[in-house]
């Protein structure tokens, strides 16, 4: 009886509610007991994006008020509002630059020798300074990950593609991430002949994010790079046709940036 009713109610919800978020909230409420603080949060979440931003800002500002540090007090009004953000990113910054190995997995990854081999080839063919960091991402199916220095990013990608021991001919994905302290490009390359994958990352200055485009190497990188330009404002040098691809040409700001404020003349 319960199963059937559940089925039916699910169907009804599907018809009645247009907003899938609202529907899932109901489901969430069903699945999780009332002591879950999320349920109190969720109605607030359905408000407009601008409301959301202001509410999170309020939270942040109260955070700083409750624990004022001596350094903060001396700062100007403007940098004060930036302070909570940098606090937010302190942890991820550590996370993404250091070798992120969970403490429970202590034995070395089976892919570690493979990564060491890649690093050796890159150091030999390019330069000792070409690689900023290299680690095996254990939470992503033991994925060898190379963090390139911006200067050598393009040449590392080219080497990964063309070197006969590497042969990463297939570009699976390329996208950008805003880490507030810096921007990052994440490219995922795959070698069909060797059935191996590698992630190539590069960190960019957040104020003026620019990097050489991979489109001259892979034509398939053209649109995804446009997408990163469109949504994050990362500009790609030597890109054949850099333009806003999903949003209109007159769109203000870059939506996937963490400090994006929605702007609409009509609102």
């Amino acid at each position: 009886m319960t199963e059937e009713q559940d089925h039916q109610s699910n169907q009804n919800q599907e018809k009645d509610t247009v907003d899938p978020k609202a529907k899932d909230n109901i489901e969430e409420a069903k699945e999780q007991p009332a002591d879950n603080p999320l349920n109190e949060e969720s109605p607030e979440k359905i408000t407009t994006p601008s409301d959301q931003q202001s509410s999170t800002k309020k939270e942040r500002s109260t955070d700083t008020k409750s624990e004022p540090s001596p350094t903060e007090q001396s700062q100007t009004e403007k940098s004060k509002s930036d302070k909570p953000k940098s606090e937010h990113t302190k942890r991820p910054r550590k996370k993404h630059t250091k070798k992120d190995q969970p403490p429970e997995k202590k034995e070395p990854s089976p892919n570690q020798p493979i990564l060491d081999h890649y690093v050796k080839i890159i150091n030999k063919n390019l330069s000792k300074d070409a690689i900023d960091d290299a680690f095996v991402n254990r939470s992503s199916k033991e994925l060898p990950t190379i963090v390139a220095t911006p200067k050598y990013y393009f040449s590392i990608a080219k080497l990964l593609r063309d070197h006969e021991e590497l042969q990463f001919h297939f570009l699976s994905d390329i996208h950008g991430i805003d880490y507030e302290s810096h921007m990052e490009i994440y490219a995922y390359l795959y070698s069909m002949s060797r059935n191996q994958s590698v992630a190539l990352k590069v960190k960019l200055d957040r104020e003026n994010p620019a990097i050489s485009s991979l489109a001259p190497l892979w034509k398939g990188a053209s649109w995804p790079e446009n997408e990163a330009y469109d949504l994050l404002g990362i500009s790609f040098e030597n890109h054949p046709d850099l333009k806003r691809i999903l949003l209109g040409e007159d769109w203000e700001g870059y939506p996937l940036r963490k400090d994006y404020e929605p702007y609409d003349v009509e609102v």
Binding site: H7, E27, I177, Y188, M192
Partner: protein
């Protein structure tokens, strides 16, 4: 010699053959296409931005609305990403239900392609047959999860609903029926001379070009590259099934047609084995914490959707919501080659080429 004038022609955004909102600005000289510029973004809903404020379970219904013709694979890719990041075990019964749902979805998706593609290039009846069979699949999936297209069926660590009584038998009965219909399709269309004239040698590209443009799925396999993530990087329990990767040779619309038709037959093979091996009982949800908070870190997983390689990247900060979520949407990547394919082509081939790429605009625009 006939004197012709260059002309700008807008195809879309509302054009039935684009199967969505897609605009193509074409510069034609008489009948010959000089240049084609795709304009996309009409259906951009900002899924990735919205997801940054949503809990992981709440994101699943949004994925239904990307590739709405095969929502099951989209459901799977995000669940798989979170499960990989959290190192979760999925119960066997749930895995089988997922595989059956995904493969049924793959057949349904290819059926839509088959029907609409043939309608695009001028014949109406295959569409009616294809949609008759697709309706049966949708009814099966409807019985399983209560929705026809936007399933929201999978959950992190399992699936939402167990198979109703007798459902597996219905799937079992459907397989031989569908095989028979597939044979009928081949008899009906595959040998047809008019059809062959429309697709052979149309929209042709080489293996190198396919890889250059990051094509995946049937668009890549039609050139002869046997690359299918179900085999190359087996996820879920695909390693338990025996099936082949259909490949084409010529890299034209004809080869893509053959690949997709053969893929339906391969999916039936997988379904057949899956219903045979389907565990009698068992849990459908694994041990999942009540509040899903993946550990800090980043993950990128990719699986084979009917349209190609669909990937999901998550950067987590150990919170309830993802810090950054990114989908590698196969239609978006596959569409990039279109201007190259259209250049120098006859105007009449435009739809035959666009249809052959098999895009879903919800996925192109994200």
């Amino acid at each position: 010699m006939i004197r012709t004038e260059e002309m700008l022609l807008n195809v879309g955004p509302q054009h039935p053959s684009t199967h969505g909102v897609f605009r193509l600005v074409v510069k034609v000289d008489g009948e010959i296409i000089k240049e084609a510029t795709p304009v996309i973004g009409y259906l951009h809903r900002g899924t990735e931005k919205l997801a940054e404020d949503l809990q992981y379970t709440q994101i699943i219904p949004y994925t239904d609305r990307m590739d709405y013709l095969s929502a099951m694979t989209n459901n799977y890719v995000i669940c798989h990403a979170v499960e990989t990041l959290m190192d979760l075990e999925v119960p066997e019964r749930a895995e089988y239900l997922r595989i059956i749902a995904m493969e049924l979805g793959r057949i349904a998706s290819h059926l839509v392609w088959y029907g609409t593609y043939l309608m695009d290039i001028g014949t109406t009846s295959p569409f009616l047959y294809a949609f008759r069979e697709r309706e049966m699949i949708i009814n099966l999936l409807n019985e399983l999860c209560g929705a026809r297209l936007t399933f929201n069926y999978m959950r992190i660590g399992g699936v939402k609903w167990d198979a109703p009584e007798g459902w597996i038998d219905k799937v079992r009965e459907f397989i031989p029926y569908m095989r028979e219909q597939l044979d009928g399709y081949h008899e009906f269309v595959t040998g047809n001379e008019i059809f062959l004239n429309r697709v052979k040698g149309v929209g042709q590209y080489t293996q190198e070009e396919a890889i250059q443009y990051s094509l995946s799925g049937a668009n890549l396999r039609c050139t002869g590259i046997a690359y299918d993530l179900r085999k190359a990087e087996p996820y879920s329990i695909y390693h338990r099934f025996e099936f082949d990767i259909p490949v084409g040779e010529t890299g034209d619309a004809w080869a893509r047609y053959q690949c997709r038709m053969a893929e339906m037959a391969e999916s039936l093979k997988i379904l057949e084995q899956a219903v045979e091996q389907f565990p009698e009982d068992g849990k459908i949800m694994g041990k999942v914490p009540r509040i899903i908070k993946p550990p800090k870190g980043e993950v990128y997983v990719r699986i084979e959707s009917p349209r190609g390689e669909i990937g999901c990247y998550i950067a987590s900060e150990g919170k309830k919501t993802p810090y950054r979520l990114k989908f590698r949407r196969p239609s978006f990547y596959n569409l990039q080659i279109l201007p190259k394919l259209l250049e120098g082509e006859n105007m009449a081939n435009l739809i035959a080429i666009l249809g052959g790429v098999d895009i879903v605009l919800g996925e192109v625009d994200g």
